[in-house]
Assembly symmetry: C2
Homo-oligomer: 323 residues x 2
Amino acid sequence: MKTLLITGISGFVGGHFTRSLLNDTTEYEIHGVSRSEPAWDFLSDKETVLMSIIFHQCDLLNTGNIQTIIREVQPDYILHLASFSSVAQSWRAPVTSFLNNTNVFLNIVEAVRTQRTPARILSVGSSEEYGIVSPGDLPLSEKQSIVPENPYAVARVAEEYLARVYVKGYDLDICCTRSFNHIGPGQSDQFVVSSIARQFAEMSVHHKPRVIRIGDGTIVRDFIDIEDVIRAYKAILIKGVPGEVYNVCSGNGHSILDIVNCLAGLTGQPVTVEQDPALIRPVDNPVLIGSYGKLQEETGWAPVCSLESSLTKMYDYWLKRLS
Amino acid sequence: MKTLLITGISGFVGGHFTRSLLNDTTEYEIHGVSRSEPAWDFLSDKETVLMSIIFHQCDLLNTGNIQTIIREVQPDYILHLASFSSVAQSWRAPVTSFLNNTNVFLNIVEAVRTQRTPARILSVGSSEEYGIVSPGDLPLSEKQSIVPENPYAVARVAEEYLARVYVKGYDLDICCTRSFNHIGPGQSDQFVVSSIARQFAEMSVHHKPRVIRIGDGTIVRDFIDIEDVIRAYKAILIKGVPGEVYNVCSGNGHSILDIVNCLAGLTGQPVTVEQDPALIRPVDNPVLIGSYGKLQEETGWAPVCSLESSLTKMYDYWLKRLS
């Protein structure tokens, strides 16, 4: 049996990932680390999933605590999900964002290095690392230059470069991702698609006015379902090459207005859209669409979920939560 | 009178910079920040220089202290020299290196942002940001892609990207450098050229065996005299364009063995060279030589000091200190 340590297990990705492990044929001893115990209101069998893990309450900025956990758990795999991953939040609180991305990652790899733990680590990065790109560069391959344009993106670039230095300089076993925008039930409404799904659910449940408030509706992102993300992370943990970076994406781009229109169609609720200036960012990337060619070639992974199915699950989640 | 805040004032660059301001026609109210009071054993008129500054003892990782200093001083200029700038040390203690480069910089720009201080900031970066380059790319221009290969270099890249985000996203006034290897009297013998100069001085003063211990003697760096560096920083503080990055370099490359041979000639002491495996780094850039074309074009700056004069001053400094 292999031992897997998941940081940030209490979050959206952590919950879905842990849930998915219960269906796997491979057995894992699952250790989870987070500041707070998992709430996981999006899992119907939350108690069963909770019973399957050993939970360690820990602030990853506390280097002593991390050292202890790594020493005690002796993980074969570390899935490092812990992150303050909101771009919007990073503009409001750049220092907190940076600490809870780059510095926590550095604390983990340093614990693994100093204790000579032979763990394979998955470092989750972001499509935001690419910055503002030319239409001719789409879909983005991992060879594209990275020029981060917001505090969160800088933190992710620094993490990826640190991972590279720890692989080349200290011989650690780390693979990196540049993950594009995740979507799925249970995601915080700090993130745009979940916020829109919530607003549609509020219209149904609370009979609110048929108005959707968004930031810049024209920006295009590559949205990928959480289930596809999870399969990608498993594939990289098993088959990824140390020091390599993999795009985790759907290969398709949709504007924020596309998301609104799709949810309007799926829920049968025509809406008007209002732009909220508070949701406009100081600098934003107009279009980010990725290519998953490298990940597919090296691991066989490909996305399978449709945007419609993702949005339906998210709408249903909010309906249930708000009812 | 303009107010200038120098972080890391107690260091090698801080001491030389402050000393040089006493000769300038422009008058400045000089505030200095550092963890420890300046020792400045390389300044003959140390007491006069100390009298010219207002010193604030402060650990720049303490965000509250920085906020207070920025609020009280209201600087027109911030020269951010505070840094753990040794590549070798960053391999031994990567977390400490990262905190004392990227995180301290972030704390300063965040204090300036949140207090809306209209200060012009100089962010000092490093030639190490370029990483391993092809001979065909030499001398390196600022357009060269940056791929950091050691913990210190990652920290400097993150600092530069953060500077860029603070300029574009928050409208701060920051110029960046990629400074090549400084040399001059008073530099710590953690740095290779100062270490070699010290070893030559030890041979003279303590009649030690004529053996120089170095790491990889073949690596080539662009060494620039501290006096040229200071003039460059002044030029950028006055004439630099916000958000722009400037190489600060001599434009010439010398190997570590060149330095040994040059000092052997200057001091009339023939030596043998021994390689110390402890001084070899896990990953190293074979050659780094910069182009200062951009800085010269935009500010008129050009280096004037010869390598021989720099090495003579460094040897004399160590002779005096060891006698």
